[in-house]
Subunit: 272 residues, 2 copies
């Protein structure tokens, strides 16, 4: 193998680490990849760490000991999150987005891979130390956000279904009442998805009264799984009293006025 | 701002480019970020290009002219795709995955963020020059794969719904017949999702007879959108004659034998 220079190794190391967020690589891995001594790799890591922090693009962390190594943690600075959320508000405020019934068309934004990637990293930054071992969401619109959060945290993603599907194998279901429409609905999770005793992070796109979120919390109780946190891209201002507590939302929508063509969306106080 | 050294700039450049696949950055952007002359940035790009190719982690491309700049293209080498798909086969062959009715439990694998990321990059590598402007899938299990493909290609993701939802606004629907179960089903796409005349790439997790894929193709015709390609994570060997043509699948499942506890899965010939 061709010999790599310091610059090459540092750049390669940053690329590989940041392609695999929160995945622990041993020093041996890089030592073999770059055909360099472990002491050299250690120096490379120090250099990589400095660069990543200097341009505010996350953190490189080393863990010492036998089970140690090096990993990259996505970390979104508050100022970065703030400007991202402000741009998002501007994009979502467009009166053309109003759907009769005072809804907002958001699918294009939520599914935009660059939006979902950043939002996922913001959730991951917030829930970094929550101890969550799985990210869970319910089909369909929260999936891209839950997916990027799971990727940033390097933990598995689980999707709750609204219908029972043969490909999920044996499932556990609960009936729940939607908080705003008061309709009875059902949700299903595969029995194989999460072992008992694990901790999950609930991620979804939107919360109004919180009926669906409460349903997920109850379903988790049913399979003996603990909720370590909840994150929503957007919540509505009304009703003020939600059916779940201890959650964060990145945005808040106050009012959608079809007649005047106005949408009032703010970033959450967390990011002010 | 602190002055950056060559190593720092090259590493930073690689990090930013690869965090934003297929997004074109102007030289000005980096020139301002690193407070360096454009000629210096040009040299940095040459260095970055070399490193990324040397460790087989994609391509950095420069586009000259007024609308030019630099971008990163994920590129999965055939050998890398091959070993990834072999590992995937091994993981999926586990007899514990068999669900009564000769189905395979795959959700954990499909939703695994590291699997979906790599599969998405393989699709993106294959369809790089297809001219696709949108990635489209149908809820639910193909979403993570379509999402990573869209991210790698830097194009929007669109999700077809199986039920009409108020948050999609006005929709176009078609009825279609599932290829294997022969049941009549409906699919809906928001009228706002894709403008007429655009080209889409269809990505999904699984194809048996191809009824759903054919439904998507027909729905695209309905909204005057062209299909530029189709990619599936897995297809079944039987029926041999599918309802759609001109697709690729990464894996093929030949037989699931509940009684003997065996699953025969192969990587597609494309990767042999």
């Amino acid at each position: 193998m061709e010999k790599f220079k310091r610059n090459d190794r540092v750049a390669g190391l940053i690329k590989i680490l940041s392609d695999n967020p929160n995945h622990l690589f041993t020093l041996n891995y890089f030592s073999e990849l770059f055909a360099a001594a472990k002491s050299t790799i250690s120096e490379d890591i120090t250099a990589a760490k400095k660069i990543v922090e200097q341009i505010s693009l996350g953190r490189i962390e080393t863990i010492s000991g036998a089970a140690g190594g090096v990993k990259y943690r996505p970390y979104v600075e508050k100022s970065d999150a703030r400007s991202f959320l402000e741009e998002l508000c501007d994009r979502l405020k467009d009166p053309k987005r109003i759907i009769p019934g005072n809804y907002i068309y958001m699918s294009d934004v939520i599914y935009d891979p660059r939006v979902s990637a950043k939002a996922g990293e913001i959730f991951a930054t917030h829930f970094m130390n929550s101890g969550a071992e799985y990210v869970i969401t319910i089909e369909t619109k929260g999936i891209t956000l839950a997916h990027t959060t799971a990727r940033a945290l390097n933990i598995p993603l689980v999707i709750i279904r609204r219908e029972n599907r043969v490909t999920e194998g044996s499932t556990v279901s609960i009936n729940y009442v939607s908080g705003s429409t008061k309709r009875i609905q059902t949700m299903f999770v595969s029995k194989r998805a999460i072992p008992e005793g694990k901790k999950v992070l609930i991620i979804d796109d939107f919360m109004k009264a919180g009926g669906t979120a409460k349903g997920i919390v109850e379903l988790m109780k049913e399979i003996k799984v603990e909720v370590a946190g909840m994150g929503f891209l957007m919540k509505t201002t009304e009703p003020k009293e939600k059916l779940v507590h201890d959650y964060i939302s990145l945005l808040e929508v106050d009012e959608v006025d079809e007649d005047n063509g106005t949408i009032n969306i703010y970033k959450d106080m967390l990011f002010c």
